[in-house]
Assembly symmetry: C2
Homo-oligomer: 189 residues x 2
């Protein structure tokens, strides 16, 4: 374990554009436990910010309510560890807006690394991504909800990360599990 | 990755006896997404059975309703991958009942391996647990809900597994994240 390994890593959880079971592009609903689990994993592995991407006004409002409950409401005193995690979250309308915010902070656009459980070719392995993170450049690791990221997001990315394989043919982890395992693998190297 | 590594591993998610924020022993409520996320992770990593432990009648009924929706109800045809995962779950009143069922299947009691985020001494490392799993003996990996397993469960166990460390001082992962990362680490070795 490299305790001092502090990559310049951002994470986005995308609710639009993603696909549904039929392969159609949709905007998915925000899931309360995605916010909790992914922000806690992000905090554990030193991620600089967790972006929740949705253009829907009601979903943005709901997400902000959940975050505020734990960061400034009753939850913040009941469980300060949750506050530390949820403080990492910023809500954005689009991946473009995420890229813009990171650009303003870093003075360069992050490389976009998409995750997918689907088989494809031309993957970046977890090991190679770990090596990429050893330079100081910013990276944005992008997760899709629903049945996964829309193709347009995948083709616009710089890297497609290797899918998680266990010791079986079953590869249907939740996005919460996948994010936790991927962060563990790429930070540990 | 050892694709053919098939350990004799069972997992239990315990809702009693666990502790609350104040350290008192309680029975926690079953969380829907624990069932989904942990059964999908268990299926991915070849776990033989996922036991949900609660002595509360209403919680057992709720858990069975959720499972049945996905294994024989509408969910089973909507999403057969969920069925495959949730089929792994068996509800039990106590850890004693879990041990008894495994004994009947295996003709020997499993070694009990408890997980905890708290600092302690005398850990079994993930690497050493992986080596233990290379023999054919059954192991039961035990996760607590709430603020963690009650001390009586920890002292009765055979092994205390190393806590997960990221690259920060923050160690407050959800049980769903912790289970996913631990299975990934111990199966990969």
């Amino acid at each position: 374990m490299k305790k001092l390994f502090k990559p310049n890593l951002y994470v986005a959880l995308v609710h639009y554009p993603v696909i549904n079971k039929s392969g159609n592009i949709i905007a998915s609903a925000v899931t309360n436990l995605d916010l909790h689990d992914m922000s806690r994993a992000a905090k554990t592995y030193g991620v600089k910010r967790l972006y929740v991407v949705t253009p829907l006004a009601d979903q943005k409002e709901l997400t902000q309510k959940i975050i505020s409950h734990w960061t400034s409401g009753k939850g913040s005193t009941f469980n300060p560890k949750r506050r530390q995690a949820l403080d990492l979250i910023t809500i954005k309308d689009s991946i473009g807006d995420v890229l813009q915010e990171i650009y303003l902070a870093e003075k360069s656009y992050p490389k976009r690394v998409v995750t997918s459980a689907r088989e494809s070719c031309g993957y970046t392995s977890f090991e190679d991504f770990h090596k990429l993170l050893e330079n100081a450049d910013p990276y944005l690791l992008i997760f899709g909800t629903g049945w996964g990221l829309a193709e347009e997001i995948i083709v616009q990315s710089d890297y497609l990360l290797e899918p998680i394989k266990g010791n079986t043919d079953y590869n249907h982890l939740s996005v919460r599990s996948a994010c936790s395992i991927i962060l563990d693998r790429i930070i540990r190297g």
